[in-house]
Symmetry: C2
DNA sequence: ACCTATGTTCGACATCCGTCGAACTACCTC
DNA sequence: GAGGTAGTTCGACGGATGTCGAACATAGGT
């Protein structure tokens, strides 16, 4: 009866990019795990969350994907029990031209 | 006799940009106060620390300038009791082409 | 010498952030 | 419907971070 307290079938929060402060976008990119995810997505494909095995638990992975989504960097499509994530490249390029390329061009290991 | 415990005349720590992880650079930019400082420096001039009155105490301002310096974003010249800060634009452009411009082009207020 | 102006450093504090295991929801397949 | 699979959410934890006032160091001026 009560679906209060669970958001499983609610729409995912995917803000308009222009409504996200730049500092949030930068903060989202300023983490090693998240940057690895972004790199993996940079090719353009769509990947299930489970794809990103970067040495963290699935709880942590879920957390990072949420941060990326709420920073306006990714979009998520729900399909069955899986969620497919992709980069919002064009929007990002329109609002912050050159930003993503500049970040991705940086060497992976400092 | 003892100059232990104070670093007033020591050289400021200004790392090679290539030795700073990208995530550190991004994290340094992912703060409102620091981004305001970077914007103020973007014109190319050299400014004394006290120039940056952005509603924080001078202790906090000093902290942020240290973060920027240690992220490789700024260089500091000591002159008398003042310290003059400037952006390391060319180096930044060489290592992360387009990054700074992309960030600066973003609207100041979210 | 004193006083002032400019910054830095030192605790201290509150908050945020990354991380995890455990419990949970939702869906798919037998 | 029982079980398995994919993810999310919930506390909890430790460590990092932003903030401040106070104390300090240094240089310059009177």
């Amino acid at each position: 009866m009560s679906n209060i307290g669970y958001a499983g079938h609610m729409e995912l929060h995917e803000p308009e990019l222009r409504e996200v402060p730049v500092t949030n976008v930068l903060a989202a990119l300023a983490d090693d795990v998240r940057l690895q995810i972004v790199r993996a997505l940079a090719g353009g494909g769509e990947y299930a969350c489970g794809t990103f095995e970067f040495g963290v638990s699935k709880a942590t992975r879920s957390h990072h994907l949420k941060v990326l989504r709420e920073a306006g960097l990714t979009r998520t499509r729900v399909a069955g029990t899986s969620r497919y994530v992709r980069l919002r490249r064009e929007e990002l390029e329109r609002l912050y031209p050159g930003l993503l390329d500049a970040v991705l061009a940086a060497p992976a290991r400092a």
